[in-house]
Symmetry: C2
Subunit: 339 residues, 2 copies
DNA sequence: CTGAAAGCGCTAACAT
DNA sequence: ATGTTAGCGCTTTCAG
């Protein structure tokens, strides 16, 4: 149960070189010997060993996927979904993904992921905002890097980015089309550029519609952009003003906190206030009311990342192609026309 | 940027064998040469290549993880979570996980996962109910198998199982302690043994409490155990009888369908009817009301599976140790004492 | 069109 | 205690 290339060669009465050529579909093999060899391969259930092949070809057939610890472990469905998309596409392209996480604070002295040191990957996909020190370290190894949902200030790499600006714009425009004029934007900290981009889209929409930008309607840059952050943000907003009729949150987690607060305060959604989120996580549809949101095609983002990676691996001079993935308005029950 | 063992040997003025021994912490190396070699290793940033090592040692350092297509792709957070637990533990134990899916219908002629054929894994974890044909195929390769949440009728393997019977028992007992006597059990199809085991637990609880088992209170073995299945099941139940005061569902997805139906019918939860689910998925807490459920420690299940695998790999005669993972009652808002 | 042979980087006898 | 050496299974010139 472990036929090697030698076994095949012997059985087919040819040399191992010939077998190798047949396996690699080399055309300068007569169809007779090809058939002969193929037959032997089949009979022996021969499959080349990854390790042996990797040793000589310097290709592991694996792709590394790096995620920041806190993006991964904290039941963060967002990047997990992206990872699963990459996984899926990797199967199509005959690669395996080696996943690893890195600390959010990566010091220059820190050990790089084992798969890099052992030369066990042919390229690396980095998702989310990763430490610059890590990137610097990785660059030494001269393997293709592809970025996802974050673009480092240094260098030029292929990347797949989410169109957060257009998303923020469309979300806000949806609200405006529903007749809303006093629209709040609730963000967590700006640690991740996406949050800021979505805010830019929000402002653009206001401007386009000739609506004033009212700083009072925004809660920015405090706390984490999660459920409790959303809860506190809307609370704070309401201490300042009660005139807004709609809320755009930087993501769905924040929106759920908002919904929770509004429910506690007996403010009806969407009758009294419309709420729109961003991301489209699975739980949205279960909320009460189901959340209107901007869908980020997370699996698709992962798929695209793998495609870019495969291109990078195959062409020796990869171009830093960037893919901007559009987001889509999903209207559910948490937004409605104003009376 | 690719120091090999030879480079180290030369730099340290020793043979490659010595370097290898040092790398492997062999004790019969004088501490002087050890230091010398270690220094060279550090200076050259030497790390053994996985491929080379794998070729000679016949150990890839990878572990395969097999999931059924439909368990994975259909946004199935359950097995995904288990996988992530395995991933996590793999990092601790210095393994990488190669993930793959197989069709639910696996014919004897089908190709086995590529990582098996290429001998690119040292063992395989199988999660959920996998086709027997696949298991038969895998057995040929004589590598350790570990089962998760499913145990094949044939053979004896290490496995980590979820204590569904105790879970069903405890869930039902919780309801009984709340004063409920007429308790429904809603299942999807029995395709997966867990559903049946939870049902057994339910019956045991009734018996223990001296309550009659009323077939009329159960909807079994129809449709998929998902949200819409739950919706239809409770609808069907209510066409038969309206006397029940509590519902135990085979999982949380079914419970959400139940909740949806009850809301549409203006039946209050938990005032009119208590509902308890099973699994504890993330969305539970966002439901209205938040769902009482039996928590399955999914990540932990994955962790245990990897531990068993590492044991199996390391001992040449692995014993078919089985781990039964307990589940835990999480009381939230969907159950209450009956008046 | 096919074969011989030289490694890829490492481990593990076996010598010394 | 350390070095020599023979592969592991495969790819890839280079000859023929």
């Amino acid at each position: 149960m472990a036929a090697t290339i030698k076994d095949v060669a012997k059985k087919a009465g040819v040399s191992v070189a010939t077998v190798s050529l047949v396996v690699h579909d080399n055309k300068r093999i007569s169809s007779q010997t090809r058939t002969k060899v193929l037959k032997a391969i089949k009979e022996l259930k021969y499959h080349p060993s990854r390790s042996a092949r990797g040793l000589v070809s310097r290709r592991s057939g694996n792709i590394g996927f790096i995620l920041r610890e806190d993006h991964f472990s904290r039941s963060e469905p967002f990047y997990t979904k992206i990872f699963l998309g990459t996984e899926f596409q990797a199967r199509e392209d005959e690669y395996y993904i080696l996943l690893t996480t890195v600390p959010s604070c990566f010091e220059p002295g820190n050990k790089l992921p084992r798969f890099v040191l052992e030369r066990n990957v042919d390229g690396i996909i980095l998702a989310g905002k990763v430490p610059q020190n890590l990137i610097n370290g990785l660059e030494q190894y001269k393997m293709p890097l592809v970025f996802v949902d974050y673009y480092p200030p240094s260098g030029k790499y292929p990347a797949v980015m989410i169109d957060n600006i257009a998303g923020g714009l469309n979300a806000t425009e949806h609200l405006i089309q529903c007749g809303h004029q006093r629209i709040a934007y609730l963000a967590g900290d700006f640690e991740h550029p996406s949050i800021l981009e979505r805010f830019q889209g929000y402002k653009m929409a206001l401007e386009k519609a000739g609506l004033p930008f009212t700083p009072e309607y925004t809660v920015l840059g405090e706390e984490l952009p999660d459920r409790s952050g959303g809860y506190n943000a809307v609370k704070k907003l309401f201490q300042r003003t009660r005139t807004i009729t709609a809320i755009f949150t930087c993501n769905d987690a924040v929106a759920t906190g908002v919904l929770q607060y509004l429910k506690e305060e007996h403010i009806r959604v969407p009758e009294d206030i419309s709420v729109i989120g961003f991301d489209d996580v699975e739980a949205d549809i279960m909320l009460d009311p189901p959340l209107t949101t901007m869908r980020v095609p997370k699996e698709d983002v992962g798929v695209q990342a793998l495609r870019l990676m495969v291109e990078s691996i195959q062409s020796d001079r990869p171009k830093p192609k960037k893919i901007l993935v559009p987001v889509e308005l999903i209207v559910r029950g948490s937004t409605c026309h104003i009376n």
